[in-house]
Amino acid sequence: MRILSSFWVVLAAACVLAARSAQADDDPGGHQHGTGLYELFASLQTVAHDGPNDGPEPREDHWLVTDLVFAANRGHWRVLGEYNFGPGENDMERFQIGFEPVPDTLLWFGRFHQPASAWNTEFHHGQHLQTTITRPSIELWEDDEGLVPQHLTGALLESRRPVGAGAGVQLSVGIAYGSLIDADGLSPVDLLRVNPGSHRISETARIAFLPQYLGSSSTGLLYGHHRTPVLDPAQAVLLNAQLVDQHVYGAYFNQDREPWRALAVAYYVDVALRNEPAVRREHFTSGYLQLERQLAHGLTLFARHENSSNASASRYVSLHSDDFVTHGSLAGLRWEFHRHQALTLQLSRLTTIQSTQSALRVQWSGVFP
């Protein structure tokens, strides 16, 4: 396991060096060399809250979160990686090898973020890019008690085509190995450690309309189908299932029109707890609306409301994520005081399926270089 981990760290370092070398090739005299990049996203935060907090500390509440993104491009080929590290975290979150046969159509192989999440395909692990400090409950990563497998390992097709005068359509389809449920909860294919090898195929897709082909606004539909084997005997007994067969249907609206920004998402999650031949079906909905307004002097006001229905009645939710937010709101102020540097203050009052909690968070986030 240690050897595997070292291998990936060395590979990441090699990619960063390749990226640096490729950047140097862009200087005068360069012709058809490759290009590359590396960006380090970092954040420091502190949180104060009332009431009990028995669950694991979510990643966003770790005092330090660091995420290294590295990429190297040559011709139609590219390599992209995202390595998340810090206290309590050490994961190769994404490692993808891509082929771009025509501009804006990419075929990726590797571990990627499933395209049926409106939040995670927008911000990935880049804490600095998401205005709020915390992410909506339904968008949480697997190791933060997330309910939907977010990291898949297999093939992903991403394409963006122009439509009419200036608009566009985006299509993403992923067919890949999803997660399994072990003693730690949802566990995707791990690139740094040994895997038990029982992962099953997931299918995910997104289709979106882009009012501006090169803009960041979009409106679309999301679909995911995940078959998640339950390997942990205790969870299998509690869930009364050997397999969690999950369908996710979603719709989202992401409008980025300065100085306003709005992101609204709704998911319907259908869960079949299979213990052949018996099947128990349950479903729940979850959604959120986030509004942001840029002000003068680099300030941005933001607010978000999350809501759900039927989540408390779901055995899958209550066993898997007892901190799942059934409803609640947060608001705050972000100050971008320098290029890629920001301070954020966030107040929240969220009701989970267990309790209601108020919290105050303060965060610095930045991107280097």
Partner: protein, 147 residues
């Protein structure tokens, strides 16, 4: 006292100065003189400066951002990418994070930028017309903005 002669001369001088000034106030898209790019529309230009590939004759073009003075920076943001600086930087970061798109190199010195365009056959950038005309290894492709 007869003011007609000096007055006319002054007027002509002002017109001449204004004419030179007006010519200098054009921002133009420039490429390497021997490069493959012959025409780029507004969408292609925006793609380039977002780090999205644009090919001509099998060669992937490379954009270079000119931050040599505040005015040309504002012209670029307003008329080329049509975003605030914050939004542009955020968009570049998002594309880098999502697809590993490379960010265009930024030049804060005009002479270095022109030298880089002159030396790289795939380079695309923008500059004041008066500066671009002084470098024979740089070709003006189109006007981006005029006062």
């Amino acid at each position: 006292m007869n003011w007609r002669g000096p007055g006319l001369a002054l007027l002509l001088l002002c017109c001449s100065v204004l004419s030179v000034s007006a010519r200098g106030d054009r921002v133009v898209l420039i490429v390497n003189a021997g490069g493959p790019a012959t025409a780029l529309d507004a969408i292609d230009i925006k793609r380039l400066f977002l780090g999205i590939p644009v090919e001509r004759s099998g060669i992937t073009l490379r954009s270079m951002v000119n931050n040599s003075d505040e005015r040309i920076k504002q012209v670029f943001l307003q008329y080329v990418v049509s975003m605030s600086e914050t939004a542009y930087q955020r968009r570049l970061l998002m594309l880098a994070l999502a697809q590993g798109r490379s960010m265009p190199p930024v030049y804060s010195d005009n002479a270095q930028l022109l030298a880089a365009v002159a030396a790289n056959s795939s380079a695309v950038s923008y500059a004041w017309e008066s500066a671009a005309l002084r470098n024979p290894r740089v070709r003006i492709l189109r006007e981006l903005w005029h006062e």
